[in-house]
Assembly symmetry: C2
Homo-oligomer: 358 residues x 2
Amino acid sequence: MSKNVLIMEGDGIGPEIIAEARKVLEAVNEKDGLGLNFVEGMLGGRAYDAYGHPYPEETREKARAADAILFGSVGGPQWDGKTERHLRPEAGLLDIRADLDLFANLRPAITFKQLADASPLKPELVAGLDILIVRELTGGIYFGGPRGIRTLENGERQGYNTDVYSESEIRRIGKVAFDSAQKRGKRVCSVDKANVMEVSVLWREVMEEVAKDYPDVELSHMYVDNAAMQLVVNPKQFDVIVTGNLFGDILSDEASMLTGSIGMLPSASLNEGSQGFYEPSHGSAPDIAGQGIANPLATIMSAAMLLRYSLAAGDSADSVEAAVSNVLDQGLRTGDIMSAGMTKVSTSEMGDAVVKAL
Amino acid sequence: MSKNVLIMEGDGIGPEIIAEARKVLEAVNEKDGLGLNFVEGMLGGRAYDAYGHPYPEETREKARAADAILFGSVGGPQWDGKTERHLRPEAGLLDIRADLDLFANLRPAITFKQLADASPLKPELVAGLDILIVRELTGGIYFGGPRGIRTLENGERQGYNTDVYSESEIRRIGKVAFDSAQKRGKRVCSVDKANVMEVSVLWREVMEEVAKDYPDVELSHMYVDNAAMQLVVNPKQFDVIVTGNLFGDILSDEASMLTGSIGMLPSASLNEGSQGFYEPSHGSAPDIAGQGIANPLATIMSAAMLLRYSLAAGDSADSVEAAVSNVLDQGLRTGDIMSAGMTKVSTSEMGDAVVKAL
Ligand SMILES: CC(C)[C@H](C(=O)O)[C@@H](O)C(=O)O
Ligand SMILES: CC(C)[C@H](C(=O)O)[C@@H](O)C(=O)O
């Protein structure tokens, strides 16, 4: 039974890093006889240029039919302020999240042992770091209404957005976090701002309810300001962090940066089925696009997550991750993770090395 | 003409640290003939215990009459879940901010040269760090409505809050940031989430307008997720950061922690007059309360800000700050900032040393 994998390059360094991840997926497809069928589509700024929409109808149809989606990255200065708000490249990303109900965003923040020195934190704070951030991705202030800019009676304008979560939305992301924790360190830290926001009060209550079904997992709560501090001062205290869309956006970026391995970190966005959207945690890096120097490993690691979560090909995923570790052990480094004594390679040389190591 | 300074201990380590800051204020009052008149009041958990409200009427009257307020810290486990939401210790803090219209929260994130090694970041990233975070403190999602928890037609509950800013609210905090930047590095970075939130779109627009009146100050914009990363990876790129209430809460805590000097960092909350509310950036630390080991220097530095911003006593403020630097040079350290070769002192020994150095 063949599986459809939709591959979309996106903007900036997207085409370069996707090319390498595709090489790896094709190699593992052949090696392990996975029967993958690759389809191509467009999302983001270049999709807007080609179709007039960052999530064109054609992409929507392919996305709905796909078992899994591998994506590069979105956005660049050439689209800034050029289009209506709902046609910006980023809007395409928000559209596909909503359209496929990709409510569970899993972002590992892991320090690769070969790269611990690259962290801005002191090495002892990050060596062996392994956090999983579970971010709610289709609710909260990202999608809540009413929203907009209105004119008040006194003539001045006022901007407003609504942060909103229902019990069922909180429960389903809570379950994802507890299920994940059960397979890891068995601790969930739920992050909110319940000392100020009512939506957080409900969040906290529902997390407590979900926890009852997982007696082997320990639940703690932390305010978001404290979480932002604790990530810096003692990141290893965390196992799984679960939080809403906006806090997850902020904390997952902070956490990924302090590993020193941002060029290495994948992400998965899942719905209630096995369908998933996989992309690197880093952005589209327009400043280095087209130069062949971007690090393709985060995208390759995203392909590994795709194999594991959407195609039930855990062994193939393991072999991709082992191949990545192998090339790091060989001392191969793209510019972003280069250090003394290592061998500097290009984007495609890195991809080729991973294929060879498979 | 005498000036009224309202002093409130608050909860946790509040009484201990306030006692030392008061010693210092009294000494400088005498030395410089400032004519300060000290008044006492209660705010927070112990105010609730004594008056049934965390911001009692008596405190409100004293606060309105004061030229400046020095505060310790708020909250502790003994009040958790014990009272209605609007009577929690933290609610008292939110009440006084609203009542006195303390819209401008200034939080310096500075690395003391004597303490650069205490940072979780690599020393070269934080040596000489000097950021000023200007956080809007009386608007945004903290005070916006509608808010609450409602039951939907399908029977499930839904929590909701409203993030809201009007042009005039954005403009007045923007001016504070630009005025501050003019006296410093002449760069303002405005942090928002304009790629997702309409309230941020208006925020960004108004900041651009304010910038026109400050041709000597450079304005840049950054998304909050990126700001959380940039603070970790390259904090010295920032001079003044201006942002809304919620993002300011998160980023100022993150920034203060990465200096390694959290026990040293003051804060000021100002209204449109010269009235101000001054408190340390750290919390009430209930775990070490009553042991005489808390670091009083952040509160003493807050007293220095009080002298400078609300009492126009800049020279006195300078002398307090010089005295603090002097005791650090002497090698005196409370437990939180202790390192090899230094002399460990108690809360009151530290306060006495600052008075002596004055
Ligand atoms: C591009 C932007 C809309 C997006 C978000 O805020 O969710 C990005 O920051 C992310 O985290 O995937
Ligand atoms: C105690 C709490 C309500 C408060 C806030 O969120 O503003 C605190 O975190 C602060 O930053 O002063």
